[in-house]
């Protein structure tokens, strides 16, 4: 009788321990999942803003006119609208301060460019999506909030040295260059601190080729005789002759673990 009772008690303890471990592992998976969700949201918000900047090029570069939609709350509303139409999904809840910080940084970047946008004597303002992304990355790095976001590509093809990939990004790009997929690493490092890192490869699209493609893609050459074509794009760089089948680079996002946990 006693041994039977002992048996039941031991069995109960084993089951309880098993259940406890199962519960804990679910909890830990849930937390990691939640963090990855935040990284996904931030990457998509960043990409939506780049899409909006692309769509806003005529307004940005036009001389004169009302440009208020490029600033402040109007700009945030437009990012939300772009996000909904790009992803067919609701704009993420601003449940984490990093998401709020990202939106604020976007507004600050646009404000930094206000005088230029309203300068009627300058046509091409140079605030294309890649430049906006670089300005946003630089702005975020001044905030000291443990969030780093970068639009990068393989080392030999980078125009702006500040966007050069680090070792981790080089390693990831080697893995995904021929088989594009989001790469998530929950054991990364950022500035010597443990970090979640995610790389989201971007497809090459026709708009990229306007600057990075070949001379026939260059809008500066449209309508001109071939003898007058230039391989310098509208931003002043030599075109790379990429094609639609080339690697489009990607968005690299890093968040220090201490910020999320």
């Amino acid at each position: 009788m006693v041994s039977s009772c002992m048996h039941i008690v031991i069995k109960s303890i084993v089951v309880a321990v098993f259940l406890l471990f199962s519960f804990l592992s679910t909890l830990s998976y849930g937390q990691g999942d939640k963090n990855q969700h935040i990284l996904n949201d931030i990457t998509k918000m960043y990409m939506a803003s780049m899409t909006l900047i692309f769509k806003s090029q005529p307004l940005i570069n036009q001389r004169g006119g009302d440009k208020t939609v490029l600033f402040g709350e109007d700009f945030i509303d437009n990012i939300k609208m772009t996000y909904r139409s790009k992803y067919g999904d609701e704009f993420p809840e601003l449940s984490h301060f990093l998401k709020k910080m990202l939106l604020q940084a976007m507004v600050e970047v646009m404000e930094d460019n206000r005088v230029l946008f309203n300068d009627d004597e300058i046509g091409f303002k140079g605030i294309i999506p890649a430049i906006f992304a670089a300005q946003l990355s630089a702005k975020l790095s001044t905030k000291g909030v443990g969030l780093k976001i970068k639009f990068t590509r393989t080392k030999d093809d980078i125009r702006n040295v500040l966007n050069l990939p680090d070792e981790w990004e080089e390693m990831v790009m080697k893995k995904v260059i021929n088989k594009p997929a989001v790469y998530f690493d929950n054991n990364g490092m950022l500035d010597g601190n443990p970090a979640y890192r995610q790389f989201t490869p971007l497809p090459m699209v026709a708009n990229c080729l306007k600057c990075h493609g070949s001379m026939e893609d260059n809008p500066l050459n449209f309508g001109k005789d071939k003898s007058q074509w230039t391989n310098i794009d509208m931003t002043g760089f030599e075109m790379e002759n990429w094609t639609i089948n080339d690697f489009g680079g990607g968005v690299s996002l890093s968040i220090e673990k201490s910020v999320l946990e």
């Binding site: 600033f71 402040g72 709350e73 604020q104 507004v107 600050e108 646009m110 404000e111 930094d112 005088v115 230029l116 309203n118 300068d119 004597e121 300058i122 091409f124 303002k125 140079g126 605030i127 430049i131 670089a134 300005q135 990355s137 630089a138 702005k139 790095s141 001044t142 905030k143 125009r159 702006n160 040295v161 500040l162 931003t235 002043g236 760089f237």
Partner: protein
């Protein structure tokens, strides 16, 4: 007896309230457009509004003292002012509040017809004569380019550099914070346009007098930190 006690309590509270209200804070302000603008003997600008909003709950009697460029640090060191804003010269070994107010980005100012919008295209600097204020820290993107750097000496190097660009004696001028020049209230705006070396920002702080009481320093520093956590000055300026 009870009413006497109440009266005594009232006197004590009144006395202490009087003491707390009598705290004064002298803030030296140097013009820094578009954030701080001196016009008609008045200081205006969003940085002025922001600092007023941040410090007003502390119940200091705040005295604002407008100062010409270069005088601020001198007055701070003498203890004639408690705080100086804005302050961006980290070479002078002056204490500052912990949180930077904002981060100006250096850049190049051009005549509009020669404007280069994207400064990461450093190959476009080849053989351009670029004026730089003597002693100013130059960003590597410019230093390592093929631009011809012409040092401009003197206290008024920045204004002279701008003037030389306007008359075409130099192709561009390196400014530690071109936003101070390239804004619509500036007359030079009609002729010049500036672009930025994003990624090479500096920090602008509130400087603190060596004579400021430690307790006051802590109170002000904590208040500014709190305010920045709710809304940074950069976002206040932008929104």
């Amino acid at each position: 007896m009870k009413s006497s006690l109440n009266f005594l309590l009232f006197c004590i509270i009144f006395l202490f309230a009087g003491i707390s209200n009598s705290k004064s804070l002298k803030i030296g302000i140097v013009e820094y457009p578009p954030h701080l603008i001196f016009q008609n003997n008045q200081v205006s600008g969003k940085l002025f509004d922001y600092i007023n909003n941040v410090l007003s709950p502390l119940n200091y009697d705040i005295e604002i003292i407008r100062l010409p460029n270069g005088r601020g640090v001198l007055e701070l060191k003498k203890g004639n002012i408690d705080l100086l804003l804005p302050y961006d010269d980290v070479t002078k070994d002056i204490d500052t509040l912990a949180s930077p107010l904002f981060h100006p980005v250096p850049g190049l100012c051009f005549k509009k017809e020669n404007f280069i919008p994207i400064l990461s295209a450093t190959h476009r600097f080849k053989e351009l004569t670029v004026g730089v204020p003597l002693g100013a820290p130059i960003v590597p993107a410019l230093k390592n380019s093929e631009a011809i750097l012409l040092e401009i000496k003197g206290d008024d190097a920045i204004n002279r550099g701008i003037a030389l660009t306007q008359i075409g004696r130099i192709d561009a001028f390196y400014h530690p914070s071109p936003a101070q020049v390239y804004h619509q209230e500036n007359k030079a705006y009609k002729e010049l346009a500036c672009s930025y070396f994003h990624g090479y920002s500096n920090s602008v702080f509130i400087a603190v007098s060596p004579f400021m009481k430690h307790k006051d320093f802590q109170v002000v520093d904590e208040r500014v930190k709190e305010a920045m956590a709710v809304m940074t000055y950069s976002y206040y300026f932008a929104k």
